[in-house]
Amino acid sequence: MSTPHELDRMIDDQLDGNLQTHDGNESALTTELITLANSFTLDANFDSALARQFKTSIAVQPKTRRRVGWQRMGAAAAIVLFALIAVTLSVPQFRAFAQEIIDDLFPRSEETERTIEYIPFDQDEFEDFDTFDALQDAVEFEIKLPDLGNAYVFEVGMTILSRNTILMRFSPPETEFPDYRVMQQPLVDATSSGIFWFGEEDNLIGPEAEILEVEFGEYIGEFVQGSWVTGDHLTEGAKDYFWRSDFPIYHLRWQDATFLYEIKLVSTDPIQPEDLVAIAESMMDD
């Protein structure tokens, strides 16, 4: 039997790769355990996905302010469009059509607890970008950039090209939260492939989630608080995720004639719909 320091030197030697050069029960055990440890590495996909969380922040260029003349023209156009929407909503047959579109913004799950399925996609077409310009160059449509002020930086932009979807993350330079995620997808792709991001099958919200309708400019959007969460407190036999309406993740979705948009905010401070509407307005005012 070795002394503690002899064992220590032997383990050092084994950790350096000399696993078969010692005899005895202690050596056999330490060799086996070190070999066992070395046989386990992080899953490559998991590793890259986690590493992506820790990208260095890069400052985003301030958005160019539009001219006052355009503001006035835009405001006038918004009033006309808003009047048209009001007429549409006042006529039953038109309202039915409009309501159908609004309902589709946040489809509901019928289950409080469920397994979330993912649409598989090729890792090769999943890309991330350090700058807004690089992200813009990667897609064929114009990306709407929110005006979040100087307190936030562009963390990363992402796209899955086959789904024509983009996501941008913004947060303060030195902290993780608040964390804004702004997503944009052509309506035609959202209709044919499902809404938005990371291949989640249907982007449902929980059955008891409260949907608040909001109006800004000519747009009608929907605001929801909550998230699907997972944890060990799920009862045995329960599914992977359950919906929590009080979870501090806030969503605003809306659409224009061509695109579907979502702002998702992770914040430890209480958030009102107006807070996200102000960001949405900054995207749509060009």
Binding site: P4, E26, L33, D43, I116, Y118, E174, E200
Partner: protein, 195 residues
């Protein structure tokens, strides 16, 4: 400051401009948060294998490793410059493992979990290795807390006794003794199981 695992000065993880920034005004808290990618790359395998030996389950070890780094990233402001980054990470991991065994893990929102491909193709370790790991983890958990901790950090995380001494707040000689007795205990425990 020197990174205890790699032996390299911690500043080597930073870019030149970051080092200049640091020299000017930044403290260690901003250093960690600014270059967390380097922290993750330097310590991910150590942390994963440490957690793996403690919980004995590959998927749980992945989940807990993610929790540890995400929590460290989000709480970089709590990092104290006078202790190595690895000690700080192991402290977070210990709490995460305790939570795991209490079955009261922090809820992870889908927005974070969905970026971790649980449904990725199966990890290519053999079934035998996984079964062996489970048995070793059970045997480790039957040891006294100090012996288990010292043995796990020495054999699975690959730390030196001096480094473990810093983590555990003991002398290197005391750690050598804990490892020595831990090996004897584990040998007896696994030997009985094999019979």
């Amino acid at each position: 400051m020197e990174d205890q695992l790699t032996g390299k000065p911690y500043q080597q993880f930073l870019t030149q401009s970051q080092q200049e920034d640091k020299a000017d005004s930044l403290n260690a808290q901003t250093t960690v948060s600014r270059d967390f990618s380097a922290v993750y790359e330097a310590h991910k395998l150590t942390m994963y294998r440490y957690v793996l030996a403690r919980v004995g389950h590959v998927q749980d070890a992945h989940d807990i490793t993610a929790q540890v780094f995400l929590k460290a990233y989000q709480n970089a402001a709590t990092y104290r410059e006078d202790s190595p980054v690895l000690h700080w990470l192991i402290g977070i991991a210990r709490h995460a493992i305790i939570d795991h065994y209490r079955r009261a893990r922090t809820e992870l929102p889908l927005e974070l979990v969905q970026q971790l491909p649980h449904d990725a193709p199966p990890i290519e370790e053999t079934v035998e290795n996984r079964l062996r790991l489970k048995r070793v983890a059970e045997a480790l958990n039957s040891l006294s807390e100090d012996r288990r901790e010292a043995l796990t950090l020495r054999l699975f995380a690959g730390l030196k006794n001096q480094e473990i001494a810093g983590v555990m707040g003991k002398s290197a000689d005391a750690v050598a003794m804990l490892v020595h007795r831990g090996v004897q205990d584990l040998n007896a425990r696994l030997g009985k199981d094999d019979q």
